[in-house]
Symmetry: C2
Subunit: 228 residues, 2 copies
Amino acid sequence: MIMPTVMERPDEFDRARKEPMRERVYLYAREQILRGRFGGGSFIEEEDIASALGVSRTPVREAFHRLEAERFIDLLPRRGALVRQVTVQELVDVYEARRVIESHAISRICREKLPVSADMKAVLGKLEKLPPRETFGRSELNRELHSVLVARAGNAVLSELYQSLDARQQRVAMTAIEADPTRLARISREHHALIGALAAWDEARALAILERHLRPIMGVMARLAPPA
Amino acid sequence: MIMPTVMERPDEFDRARKEPMRERVYLYAREQILRGRFGGGSFIEEEDIASALGVSRTPVREAFHRLEAERFIDLLPRRGALVRQVTVQELVDVYEARRVIESHAISRICREKLPVSADMKAVLGKLEKLPPRETFGRSELNRELHSVLVARAGNAVLSELYQSLDARQQRVAMTAIEADPTRLARISREHHALIGALAAWDEARALAILERHLRPIMGVMARLAPPA
DNA sequence: TCGCGCCTTCTCGTATACATGAAAAATTCT
DNA sequence: AGAATTTTTCATGTATACGAGAAGGCGCGA
């Protein structure tokens, strides 16, 4: 029932686009949550979004169901959509899951002697071209690098699972970067080291770098998401 | 557009139940796919299900979206719902993913010296009480045992990921059992051995048993799902 | 004043109606 | 006849309507 922000002007978006309405509704609601406008623990109602975007409730419902599947909200029967509170425990679990999947990918890449893919090089290249100021863009590319790494291992199912984790952590990743911008430089260094170890198929070294790479993030999380 | 089976009598189900309609529609469509009545590669239309169950298209749409999220069908824009063909590659990937997650769970249980949970014992108990004839029930319990094992490790996120894998492989698991009923006895023995190793916190042994346990299934899969 | 139950209100869940766009069918041209 | 184009069909995508169930307010009684 809490409307965190009053929209002065109905959030009109380009209705000319031909992509399905529910997709745009989904992206809109997702961004509101990501940006923290819909705080965790507050309710959103279908009609809110529908009128704000000038669409009917039907596509909003479909977007809500997708958001629920991705654990952004909980759909309470006849009550509304509760924006999930990100708990510390959940973050720890997400990072452990990431570590499990990424470690496996690294092991496969090294054991099967898979060369570093063009995708990985492309992402690294884009990262270098991007000025350090562009924290948002860099953060996106960093996440993409990890995705591409997992994809390289060649297991589509694991890649999908990893993607869903990625969506879940995205909320916090953004604020984590903002809270400590100096981390970006460190992350870049670690990424280069990781790709280097992968190119040399040095499994032990790559795994060690991954460990060091993921561990400190948990500390940041704990500070950002005090227990509800 | 292919309706594999003509329903002589509209598949009437108990409309008195108070659980949401979309849930029943979901379960119905899911079972049809699981039982192979909607063959892989064929289209199902919303209206088919709606009229077969005597409901409107609205809950059917929601059920379809859920089935798509669980990878039972592909929703093609303005075309319909395509029942996914289970490829050998996908099955191999699913089993590899299972192995990754279950191995991690075993490692954690052994390293943190977590005692075998009451849940696990309960499932084992139910399994022993169930007569060997009950292949379907035994298969369900076997899957449940693995779920409980993963849950024991205490990572809710990984448990969720595992659950989604479980749903994906269910289609084939059923037919796999039917194709080779002698496997059930072997599975039971391996499960007992696995729990034994877990109780002793013998990580290496438990992992070895898991490997042996999951590997032969892939052979069965390859025979059951010839490349499309 | 406080507790209990009724009533109002408001949102979701489902049904129905209409619009849109793609596939299939019919027609025409070569 | 064969192929390309137009027409038709028909399932999906979206909007709207209606009913049911829960939350909160209000009045009544202790």
